[in-house]
């Protein structure tokens, strides 16, 4: 396999990938279907922004956001059935059980951990040391600008955290489990070792909850853009959308079986952050996963970072690993 040269890198030398928007297949079907799958993403984004912008205070609450989030996921499930990107990524009962197990962990035990030793504690501690007066300049900005800045700062942090995970072995170990997924579906973003899910939950978002509306608007950015990272739906996203935002195409390259391709498209929502730092590759991949697409079981997903770390430590510091017979 020759691969394709993108800048200084050769992408797709180990596993097939498609590079360049012009080479990516289009939505098949009649004009209505093509219209829907072209404008669905922008309509949802602007619709959600308008909702959170104008909703009365009694409706603009965190619980409404949770309700909308669940409803949106159900809608995306339906889209996967109607217009899958790849037949080889069809959701099966087993995949659904595994995905929902991790979603469930995120809503239960990880939330408890977060509450007692995680980001919630950190946020409260740091909030106590800040003079909120110094944030008045921020809360006086137009709401949409506040929301964009919150989403951008959060995504900027996530970009570097994610890039760090791909470049520093101790962080790669917990993240690697997520790269053993072999297909993309709506809930695949939740699949990973709990240590990573805990680490990735340590975000900046919580600092801004004293401005609920801007925070909820920022959440709309995350939901209406980030939700498409792991999804099996073929969209004809408008050109400007693909330039600004992370798409399922970008993220499938990031999950490709090709090593070089995985070292790209790190951002969660705003792919222009990758463009800023030269890590963006426009394209897509069907064959996903580590070790040629070996699918991990749940017990291995839970233990892999620890067993691998142990193996590495033993190799490095263990006795007898480099015994050379005396002459």
């Amino acid at each position: 396999m020759d691969g394709v040269r993108v800048g200084n890198r050769v992408i797709g030398a180990q596993s097939p990938v498609t590079i360049g928007w012009e080479n990516i297949p289009k939505v098949q079907g009649g004009p209505i279907k093509r219209f829907v799958f072209t404008w669905f993403q922008p309509t949802m984004l602007f619709g959600l922004l308008a909702f959170w912008y104008y909703a009365p205070n009694s409706i603009a609450t965190a619980s409404t956001a949770i309700g909308i989030g669940i409803g949106f996921r159900v809608l995306l499930f339906a889209l996967e059935w109607v217009n899958p990107r790849y037949e080889s990524w069809r959701l099966t009962w087993k995949e659904m059980v595994v995905d929902l197990f991790y979603v469930g962990l995120g809503y239960t035990i990880l939330r408890i951990v977060d509450n007692y030793i995680g980001s919630d504690v950190m946020v409260k501690a740091i909030q106590g040391h800040f003079h909120w007066d110094s944030f008045k300049w921020f809360t006086g900005l137009p709401l949409l600008l506040q929301a964009f800045l919150i989403a951008f700062i959060f995504d900027f942090g996530q970009y570097w955290m994610h890039r760090g995970m791909h470049n520093w072995y101790p962080l790669w170990l917990p993240h690697s489990v997520h790269h053993y997924i072999t297909q993309l579906n709506v809930n695949k973003g939740a699949v990973g070792n709990p240590v990573e899910l805990f680490l990735i939950g340590l975000g900046l978002g919580g600092f801004f909850d004293f401005v609920p509306r801007a925070f909820l608007l920022a959440g709309a950015f995350g939901m209406a853009i980030g939700a498409y990272q792991h999804i099996n739906v073929r969209f004809d996203s408008p050109r400007w959308w693909r330039f600004l935002f992370n798409t399922t195409e970008h993220h499938s390259l990031h999950h490709s079986q090709d090593f070089e391709a995985t070292r790209s498209n790190y951002s969660g929502s705003f792919i222009f952050i990758d463009r800023m730092f030269g890590t963006c590759i426009d394209g897509e991949a069907e064959l996903l996963g580590m070790e040629g697409g070996r699918r991990m079981s749940i017990p291995e997903q839970m233990t892999y970072p620890f067993t691998e770390a142990w193996k590495t430590l033993k190799e490095k510091f263990g006795r007898g690993s480099a015994v050379v017979p005396a002459e």
Binding site: A62, F101, T108
Partner: protein, 238 residues
């Protein structure tokens, strides 16, 4: 019918279970074991039937062994789209009775067992949430009470964290576009919006326990039917 279904060979390195325990296990192993039988075409040989089923066992991570009328298989890390990925091992046996040849199968699925047990795990998380909240409550109340008795001074306008969003005037652009004005700051002690001020609730754990209970019922019925239909299709040569 189940009596005629082939028994699984004991796994290597494990001592066979005592007969008494095995009988007890049979009462509950339907949870993760799927058994069934299919009538073959009259005169169809074992070799012909297994040749037709053979592609199913040529998948990544699948090992299988044919010995006469019996086929055994095991799977490790099967692919997501492997049609038998739900099963970890199984036995297929062709038997002949008066009505003609019959394929009997006995398949074992750890993911079915996992899904069956998952509601219990989430109920445990719910219990943990409730227990931790109980531990936390007295200390919070104690702090509040001690604060009152000690005659804690009311917060001054300049206190840290006392300045809320509502103290900040709305941006003229938002006023012009008609966004609702932020709420007035709530009095101390009242709950504020945002999840940071909420204790973890046990509700999500109950919801997921119910999800997995429903998913188990669906999976136990669906996978039983799917595997039967799959064998039927393959044996029919499609």
């Amino acid at each position: 019918m189940h009596d005629a279904v082939p028994a699984l060979p004991s796994r290597a390195g494990r001592a066979p279970l005592s007969e008494g325990f095995r009988v007890d296990l049979r009462l509950i192993d339907w949870i993760w074991h799927i058994r069934g039988s299919l009538a073959l075409a009259p005169g169809q040989s074992s070799d012909d039937a297994f040749d037709r089923l053979d592609p199913l066992f040529g998948q990544t991570g699948t090992g299988h062994d044919r010995a006469g009328d019996t086929l055994t298989f095991q799977k490790k890390d099967p692919g997501a789209q492997d049609k038998l990925s739900v099963f970890d091992r199984g036995v297929l046996r062709i038997e002949r009775d008066a009505a003609g040849p019959v394929l009997r199968y006995h398949l074992v699925s750890r993911i079915l067992l996992f899904c069956f047990v998952a509601p219990l795990l989430f109920l445990a998380f719910a219990q943990l949430t409730i227990t931790l909240a109980k531990f936390q409550k007295p200390s919070t109340e104690a702090t509040a009470t001690s604060g009152k008795t000690a005659g804690a001074a009311p917060k001054k306008p300049g206190d840290k964290a006392a300045v809320k969003a509502a103290d900040v005037p709305m941006n003229p652009i938002d006023k012009f576009l008609g966004a609702p004005a932020p709420e007035k700051p709530k009095k101390d002690g009242e709950s504020k919006p945002g999840r940071r001020n909420k204790k973890p609730s046990a509700t999500p754990a109950y919801v997921f326990a119910a999800f997995f209970a429903i998913l188990y019922i669906i999976g136990r019925i669906l996978e039983d039917r799917l595997v039967r239909r799959l064998f039927e299709k393959k044996l029919a040569g499609s």
